[in-house]
């Protein structure tokens, strides 16, 4: 089931945990990059691949929850599976509320860890695809002229050509031409497709 290109970052100050997790995750087909501290991990250049982070909660210096906060502030959306030597409820609630994928207490069963990593990767993949298509939609929308963009907003708001012409102070015929160019430039066949594309690009529909 695992994705051979997927990366698992392991951040734990305990050498024996890093080593054993490395073995386990490699046996499941992952690429593993292990770090002894949060700072060491942050010095690693950002890779574009599908990745997740297996993160120890209690570490000297910068701890797991602080690293989670730091990554969120830096807009790095890597899904996190927390592991902890001493799990208390307030800590796990805090981690989950801040968007953690999972929270496992040491010692954990390999099955549980691998399932959590699988879910984290699925989420990372989804997010990657979503962000890829959103990028594509935004690039296509960027091809429109300002006037065509104005017409587009009116169309996705569900207005008729006559209403658009009145609103923009142009003839109905001119609007029809603009509208044809928008559909052509964005490579869509129907208004429904057009609406979906705009949603992907993050345009708010009124």
């Amino acid at each position: 089931m695992s994705d051979s290109t997927a990366i698992v970052y392991v951040v734990d100050d305990e050498a024996s945990v890093r080593k054993s997790l490395g073995r386990l995750l490699r046996s499941a087909g992952y690429r593993v990059l292990a770090f002894a501290s949060a700072r060491e991990f942050l010095q690693q250049p950002v890779e574009a691949e599908i990745a997740c982070l297996v993160l120890d909660v209690q570490m000297p210096d910068l701890n797991g929850l602080e690293l989670q906060q730091f990554l969120a502030d830096a807009d790095r959306n890597v899904p996190i599976v927390f592991i902890t030597g001493h799990g208390d409820i307030p800590t796990s609630v805090r981690a989950m509320k801040a968007g953690a994928q999972d929270f496992l207490s040491k010692p954990f069963d390999a099955k549980d860890l691998l399932a959590a990593i699988e879910r984290a990767h699925a989420k990372a993949r989804e997010e990657a695809i979503e962000s890829a298509s959103s990028l594509d939609a935004r690039q296509r929308l960027a091809r429109l002229t300002p006037r065509e963009h104005e017409v587009l907003l009116q169309v996705i708001a569900g207005r008729l050509n006559k209403q658009i012409a009145a609103a923009l102070g142009a003839s109905e015929k001119t609007i029809k031409v603009h509208r044809g160019r928008v559909m052509h430039k964005l490579d869509v066949q129907s208004v429904a497709d057009l609406v979906r594309l705009c949603e992907k690009a993050g345009i708010r529909i009124e």
Binding site: K19, R23, K106, L113
Partner: protein, 576 residues
């Protein structure tokens, strides 16, 4: 005089049993019987013996002992309060006028004894008073007898000398009817074969044709009928109370005033039956002893008498043996209580550290499980790499030992039992305690700096007790850092060999420090700077370190925070 000493000493110690941390030692002066030069040697002996541990209070039993104490105090124990005891109400002098002297005056009511005896035996015509010759007897004769006028009585008085004893016994066996004997002698007999006082009294009572009374209760039980006196036990007990009072108000200059104890009539129940005196005729408030002579008591008396005879020349040894026994019992009891308390605080400390200990054990457990499951997956996938499986198994074994070690250390600290002193390396102790606290430091985000002196001298001590001291100081240091900023969350543990043959250990934190008014008292029981502290941890640390012959203390650092330190005597000859 010796049995009186023992009675007094035992009662004194009993009443002091409730005072914690008290070491009571007795010195028998015995000057009466020893040649010149003895006093100089005795002074030197006392000086050497108490130079390290000067006493808080001196108790002087008897007037000679008081004289001795007053004489040597300026040289040996300046300003140490003296509590005298065993002086009669009427013995001359006012020792309390000398600075820092108080005490207990007893009532040895010789005339009262005589009056009581005459009331109980109204047909008495002749009274025989036995006097001793030893200096101590002359002193005793003065006690309460200064106002004695034979002419005030209807009876005729005869004075008999205790020495020689054979002659005295002869006289006593021939006493006419309606006689009384009052024994004022205190000492034994040293004419011919020497006889201790106890034995002498017993022989006298055995042959006496008349009831015998005495001015003291020391030999009641040896055949004397009764006395009117303050009992030696009461004197010992009251002296103990006064000593406890002085100890409790240490630091102030006030001493309790001299207390005078009343005399009460005391009788031997067996002698009352022998002389046909009914209890309803006794004066009100009388105390009757030996009413039910038990088999045990009869045998005890025999044992004491015969050993007293045997040890005639060196009664000192008898006293020390008796004393040593009761002291050892008290010490054992105190030690048992201390162990209980130590154990209790260890359990409490470990309770505070459960999160940390769980963390320390779960780390290797997590590594073991991941390694084992990785190996299972590798085996299931086929194409087994034996070398890799070997590595995995080696790591599993190492992690298992590590988890076991944490549990072993924990169990050792929770162990209950006697101290087991061995030769220890202080740096190892530090490493072991840090092993238990590592998780706690990570949880609290505290960094640790170790500054351990290489090649430290080993020390001799109990591993668990010393670990407890370090654990306590370190947990305190971590607690002190709870409210500090992240940059101050640092603990330094330092070991060093300063001069003077002591290994020194310091635990330094950068917390708020100890409030100035508590720096002195923080090692006292029930003094704490923590809102939920029991105030026992440091008190126990101190008793452990003192028991190891070391010292413990604390100071605030110039840059903030506190340093707690202790020293332990180094084993010099075994330097590694």
């Amino acid at each position: 005089m010796l049995p009186a000493n023992v009675l007094f000493d035992t009662a004194l110690r009993q009443s002091l049993q409730s005072v914690p941390d008290l070491d009571c030692s007795s010195e028998f002066l015995d000057e009466v019987d020893f040649p010149t030069g003895y006093r100089e040697r005795l002074l030197e002996f006392l000086r050497v013996k108490y130079v390290e541990k000067p006493p808080d209070v001196l108790v002087a039993f008897g007037s000679r002992s008081l004289d001795f104490c007053l004489q040597v105090r300026p040289q040996l124990f300046p300003d140490v309060p003296i509590v005298f005891a065993g002086l009669g109400r009427e013995s001359p002098g006012e020792p309390e006028r000398q600075g820092r002297v108080t005490g207990i005056r007893a009532t040895f009511d010789g005339p009262g004894t005589l009056h009581m005896a005459l009331r109980l035996h109204p047909h008495t015509r002749e009274v025989f008073v036995v006097r001793g010759e030893a200096p101590i007897d002359t002193a005793a004769a003065a006690l309460g007898w200064s106002t004695f006028r034979p002419g005030d009585f209807r009876a005729t008085f005869h004075f008999l000398e205790r020495h020689p004893l054979q002659q005295l016994l002869q006289r006593l066996s021939e006493l006419p009817p309606n006689s009384l004997v009052i024994d004022l002698a205190l000492s034994g007999s040293d004419d011919g074969p020497a006889v201790p006082a106890r034995e002498a009294v017993e022989s006298m009572a055995r042959v006496s044709q008349a009831p015998m009374y005495a001015a003291f209760d020391t030999y009641l039980g040896q055949g004397l009928l009764g006395t009117v006196t303050t009992s030696m036990q009461t004197i010992g007990h009251e002296t103990g109370e006064q000593v406890a009072e002085i100890l409790a108000s240490r630091g102030t200059d006030r001493l309790p005033g001299v207390r005078t104890l009343e005399a009460i009539p005391i009788f031997d129940g067996r002698q009352l039956r022998r002389w046909g005196i009914r209890k309803k005729h006794l004066p009100p408030g009388s105390q009757v002893r030996f009413e039910e002579p038990s088999f045990w008591r009869q045998h005890l008396a025999l044992v004491i008498v015969s050993s007293g005879l045997f040890l005639l020349q060196s009664g000192l040894i008898l006293a020390l043996v008796l004393q040593g026994r009761s002291r050892r019992r008290a010490q054992r009891e105190a030690q048992r209580r201390r162990q209980e308390l130590e154990h209790m605080t260890r359990v409490a400390t470990m309770g505070e550290l459960t999160a940390s200990l769980a963390h320390e054990i779960n780390q290797p457990l997590a590594a073991i499980l991941s390694n084992a499951q990785a190996a299972q997956r590798l085996l299931a996938a086929g194409g087994v790499d034996a070398a890799e499986i070997g590595d995995i198994l080696a790591d599993i074994a190492a992690d298992d030992l590590r988890a076991g070690e944490v549990i072993r250390r924990m169990r050792a600290l929770l162990r209950k039992g006697d101290a087991d002193p061995t030769t220890l390396d202080v740096n190892d102790l530090v490493a072991e305690v840090i092993g238990l606290l590592r998780g706690e430091m990570i949880l609290q985000n505290v960094s640790l700096a170790l500054d351990l002196a290489p090649g430290l001298h080993p020390i001799h001590g109990d591993r668990v007790q010393l670990q407890q001291v370090l654990l306590n100081l370190m947990v305190n240091a971590l607690d002190a850092l709870k409210d500090t900023t992240a940059s101050n969350r640092k603990v330094v543990v330092r070991t060093a060999t300063p001069e003077g043959g002591f290994v020194r250990v310091e635990v330094e934190d950068a917390g708020a420090g100890v409030p100035a008014d508590k720096l002195e008292s923080v090692f006292d029981p029930f003094v704490t700077t923590k809102p939920h502290g029991m105030g026992l941890g440091l008190a126990i640390c101190r008793s452990i370190i003192l028991a190891h012959g070391g010292r413990i203390g604390s100071s605030n650092n110039p840059a903030g925070g506190a340093t707690f330190w202790f020293t332990l005597p180094a084993l010099m000859e075994a330097k590694r």
